[in-house]
Amino acid sequence: MSNAFIIRFERSGGFTGIAVDKTINSLEMKQEETEMLRMMIDHSDFFTLPYKEIAKPHPDRFTYKITVETEGKKHTVQFSQTSVPESLKDLIRYLIEKTRSRI
């Protein structure tokens, strides 16, 4: 993946039930960070992941939904906290930290 990309990260559930819905645009980021994100997306084989893999819901766990749009293609995946593929964990950790609400 070499062109610009947009990532939408949505998180729902959790004890508070307070949703997170943030969008990241590579054009608004430093190159270093953009490269790192590209590598994570490529490493996860994002565009081949199944749309939805939700384990039996456990109380107060998070559900993550990620949409990546780039090079004319768009794909969305949704996982519960307990069913995130290993290959996607780095990306999710990064997105959680990036989109953490801060004053």
Binding site: S12, G13, F15, G17, H58, P59, T63, I96, S101, I103
Partner: protein
């Protein structure tokens, strides 16, 4: 802790223990019973002791068995043991809050409802604190409680959430998910999921009210008060008394809970809005308890507990919960009693009519 026959590590099948229980000497029977109980507790899950008959009278007085682990800021569970039952406070706030909160929750269920831990068989209460980094959540994973530190890794001026052990009702909430898992098994989606959430808020609130010795009138009926930092415009995560009013913050948004069926939120997010629509049955409980008066755990809590333990099922919806609690109130306090009328009013005020539609 080691079992007399070290049943955790050796292979002593239940049928062999049952033989000992039937034919052993009094001392052998006592040890076999203790070994079974300890094994079930240590595994942290419900042992199918119900299938084994106990010809001897159980003399073991139920006691708490708390274990609090330090997650070392990783997501590995359970972590490193930080405090076990009857050990002195550690000085780590999260550890000691998890320990105390689990104790108060156990006390409510045993002292008031006669329940011996989450499985009613003395199950260990296992908690992990300091889970993950910047983890703004707490959850019940099917076997234990898990608590994050919120934003305590950030500079104070940037924090929105404090550690999740800071409010005792959060601890009671998570433990009650365990009880629901063993009893009604309310499916975690849609209305049954919202009931699941509501029951956790109900009993979490009762743990807090009992600890503070508050009547229904004195209680604030807030869930998670103290979790937000001063940087957030909000008093709590949820309000059972006035759903939708707990917070309204420029970053976090507004409390989305409805307090009436007319505001029911149809969504696929949050497992069908389980943390949103729980406001409706939670307000029904608040109204019921307030109408009855006195301590909320005594009558309203009893009605709700019996519903959770004996009547509700995986797919129960709000209407079914209303009918069940109304029926139980009649059985416990009489048809047409003040308690039954209070139950009916609670549900009516949130837009649910008990009885035939």
């Amino acid at each position: 802790m080691t079992a007399p026959c070290n049943c955790i590590f050796c292979i002593t099948p239940p049928h062999m223990i049952e033989k000992i229980l039937e034919q052993g000497t009094p001392k052998q029977k006592e040890r076999a019973l203790k070994a079974l109980t300890i094994s079930a507790q240590f595994r942290g899950r419900r042992q199918s002791l119900a299938n084994i008959s106990f010809p001897v009278h159980r003399t073991l007085q139920p006691v708490k068995h708390r274990l609090v682990y330090h997650g070392e800021f990783t997501e590995n569970l359970p972590g490193n043991l930080a405090r076990k039952e009857e050990e002195d406070p550690t000085g780590d706030a999260a550890t000691d809050e998890a320990y105390d909160g689990a104790g108060h929750t156990w006390d409510l269920y045993y002292d008031i409802f006669g329940r011996n831990s989450l499985d009613d068989k003395g199950m260990h209460l296992v908690s992990t604190v300091h889970y993950g980094q910047g983890y703004d959540n707490a959850f019940w994973d099917g076997e234990q409680m898990v608590y994050g530190d919120g934003d305590e890794d950030l500079p104070e001026a940037e924090r929105l959430f404090r550690r999740f052990t800071i409010a005792i009702d959060i601890i009671g909430h998570e433990l009650t998910h365990g009880i629901t898992q063993f009893e009604a098994k309310l499916a975690y989606y849609g209305q049954s999921g919202a009931l699941n959430e509501s029951f956790s808020d109900v009993f979490g609130s009762l743990v807090k009210q009992r600890m503070l010795n508050q009547t229904a009138a004195q209680a604030d009926w807030l869930i998670g008060q103290g979790l937000f930092t001063a940087n957030v415009s909000g008093q709590a995560i949820r309000s059972m008394k006035e759903p939708g009013t707990a917070y309204d913050d420029p970053l976090l948004g507004k409390d989305p809970q409805p307090g009436h069926m007319s505001g029911y939120v149809n969504t696929t997010s949050d497992n069908g809005g389980v943390h949103i629509n729980s406001g409706i049955p939670s307000r029904a409980f608040y109204i019921c308890a307030s109408e009855i008066g006195g301590y909320a755990w005594e009558k309203a809590g009893k009605i709700w507990y019996i519903a959770l333990r004996d009547r509700l099922k995986a797919g129960s919806d709000f209407k079914e919960a209303a009918d069940i609690t109304f029926q139980i109130a009649g059985e416990e306090y009489g048809t047409g009693s003040a308690e039954q009328n209070a139950t009916k009013k609670g549900w009516a005020d949130v837009g649910i009519t008990v009885g035939p539609v």
